[in-house]
Symmetry: C2
Subunit: 228 residues, 2 copies
């Protein structure tokens, strides 16, 4: 680039305002999309909740679809990187002998912690992700785009932990794991009613306590069965 681009220090007031408004829009859209889906939310709904004119959303985000994708992408990169790092750390720790439960813990517990500690925004994002994941329309595509690398990393570790296991069994096992995780993040309140209040949809700690153990046993049983 021959032209000297002048990177002026953005005056804080405007830049801050811009960032703040965009964040508010993203947060609100995230929440509303997580409750009603893409088509169930209008730009006016979002604008009204934020307290700005609805065309401001077109000003900041190309169009509605772009807004949706930006909402999704914003946190996808965070959770993806976090889990990737957790898997790296785990592998560095155990070298060539990972266990199924260890790998699953690196993957699942890291994420569940994020949703536990990340505040309302993260919880809304979880619900959005869960909905996206079970939507044929763009579900698969968006999950692929954002999460394939981490997932394949996990699967690599699982293969190492279960060297005799058929690949299909590992993929189906992973499929069961995501299904369970997604329903957890969906936070629909169903388990609350079903259990008469004994369990709570938003009790990620309870899930963390059980999930990796539960799923690890599942992997082992299916793989050993098929080996014989």
């Amino acid at each position: 680039m021959a032209t000297a681009v002048k990177y002026r220090r953005k005056s804080s007031a405007k830049a801050e305002q811009r960032a703040a408004t965009m964040d508010q829009i993203l947060d609100t859209a995230e929440y509303l999309f997580s409750q009603h889906g893409f088509y169930g939310v209008t730009l006016k709904d979002v604008a009204k909740t934020v307290g700005v004119h609805h065309t401001l959303i077109n000003y900041y985000f190309e169009d509605k679809k772009k807004l949706f994708e930006d909402v999704f992408a914003r946190r996808a990169v965070v959770t993806s990187q976090r889990r990737m790092k957790a898997l790296d750390d785990y592998e560095n720790e155990v070298g060539n002998s990972p266990t199924v439960e260890g790998a699953l813990r690196a993957f699942l517990d890291t994420d569940l912690d994020l949703y536990t500690e990340g505040g309302e925004g993260w919880r809304n994002y979880g619900a959005l992700g869960a909905q996206v994941a079970s939507t044929p329309e763009w579900g698969a595509r968006m999950m692929d785009e954002h999460f394939d690398p981490v997932v394949l990393r996990l699967i690599g570790l699982l293969k190492k932990a279960l060297p005799e296991c058929a690949e299909e069994d590992i993929f189906w096992g992973y499929h069961f794991v995501t299904g369970a995780l997604m329903l957890t993040l969906a936070k629909t309140g169903r388990i609350d009613k079903l259990s008469g209040g004994l369990c709570r949809s938003d009790d990620y700690a309870a899930v963390k306590e059980r999930m990796a153990t539960f799923m690890a046993a599942g992997f082992l049983s299916v793989c050993s069965r098929r080996k014989s």
Copy 2:
């Protein structure tokens, strides 16, 4: 997919015509809702696909919401009763000593068979159910309304099979099971890409082969851990 042809059998009674048209509308709506969700489908979309005027849908079904609920309810009763019967049969067979895997097989395999053998309509319904299950808006409510009895029946059996197990563990275990089942029925095509074609989203037989075993081991591991 759906043929836009009106089958006007001269000899058929009006009642038959009525039923046929309503079924076509239900089938089409079922498919479209399963792909795009409630708000992602317009009555015109449905009407156009069926090949009738869009106001005919208001004639047969009070309004859009009622159509959606009718679509959902139509097959909910079938799968619910089928699984209920399977659980009854299983209990009659094994009396007072059910196993976790046995109970899960009665519940899961019966349903997976239905989706395998039931044709396109059932597969669309499965995808719809999966989407509904992870939607906070009405998800929990609709699942509660239609499936609570069977689910509590299953949970009763699981408690019998695991008398020492903490109730929370059983509920969370069931939660994992549904999550996995729902993602299966969602049929998003994600596992296909992820596994490089090794596994196929619509291969319910593959799921049936693994799921009950996998989940039963999960229950056992979590319950035994907590007992100690």
